[in-house]
């Protein structure tokens, strides 16, 4: 696919309540892509974590700052990216939540969960500000994917 079709692009103010908006539109999209219940659930959790981080660490809960969510299908992969207006961080310095000294910490599990529930998690930091995390999930479940069938790829 030379021009992958974006399924949806959603922009929201930085409030935790808005995570529910992401959830409903994501769920409806995944349903349409014939994702099974489990996939929908875990992708949903991963996206919630990414959006929560964008709202909290990226935009510091400033409701005037935008979080943008983008969902598209590329080949067999579902790609969801979450963009904030923050200054980024060093993903290499994020602690491993499985280390004994971290096991009882109340936070630090979000990125770890994203990695567990998705097939790929990549951070990109834009010049001049903006953190973008791209989540990737293989969705060849043997189930028909209506979007691609329409384009005659099978």
């Amino acid at each position: 696919m030379s021009r992958p079709e974006c399924q949806f692009h959603l922009a929201l103010g930085s409030r935790f309540e808005n995570i529910e908006l992401v959830q409903v539109v994501l769920d409806e999209s995944l349903r349409r892509l014939a994702c099974d219940d489990d996939t929908r659930y875990w992708v949903g959790i991963a996206v919630r974590e990414a959006v929560a981080n964008a709202i909290k660490h990226g935009n510091h809960l400033d409701p005037g700052k935008k979080v943008e969510i983008d969902l598209r299908v590329e080949g067999e992969d579902l790609i969801i990216s979450v963009l904030d207006e923050g200054n980024g961080f060093d993903p290499g310095r994020v602690a491993d939540p499985l280390q004994p000294e971290n096991l009882l910490k109340p936070d630090g599990r979000g990125i770890f969960y994203m990695g567990k529930f998705m097939d790929g998690v990549e951070y990109r930091f834009r010049d001049g500000g903006g953190t973008e995390v791209t989540l990737r999930k293989r969705i060849t479940s043997g189930v028909a994917i209506p979007e691609r069938n329409q384009e005659g790829e099978r």
Partner: protein
């Protein structure tokens, strides 16, 4: 998210319902644990059977509750884990930390 609170044989049973996720439910859970401690309870059981979704913040609140209760000389146990809640605890190796019970009856007797 709503949290039900009841007493059963000297154990405070907390029953959160719905989502324990960032900005909704995570703080409520914390508050209800502290309230139970403040009212003298040292045996606290969280029944998670009606929890539909939990994210890393919710997991964090469970961990914080565990630490708080333990630090104040109490015991915190979990019961009624729906499969997905169990999975997410497992993934971050927290099933070893929490005492996860099979049934509420067994849980109450075990304190």
């Amino acid at each position: 998210m709503k949290i039900g609170v009841r007493q059963r044989q000297g154990v405070t049973v907390l029953e959160p319902k719905g989502k324990i996720t960032i900005g909704s439910g995570d703080i409520a859970l914390r508050d209800s644990v502290i309230e139970a401690l403040d009212s003298g309870s040292r045996k606290i059981l969280i029944n998670l059977k009606d929890v539909s979704t939990i994210d890393s913040s919710g997991i964090g609140e469970l961990v914080a509750a565990y630490t708080t209760v333990t630090n104040r000389g109490g015991k915190l146990k979990l019961v009624g884990l729906p499969p997905k809640v169990s999975d997410i605890l497992q993934i971050t190796q927290l099933v070893t930390v929490f005492e996860v019970m099979e049934s509420e009856e067994e849980a109450v007797d075990s304190f």
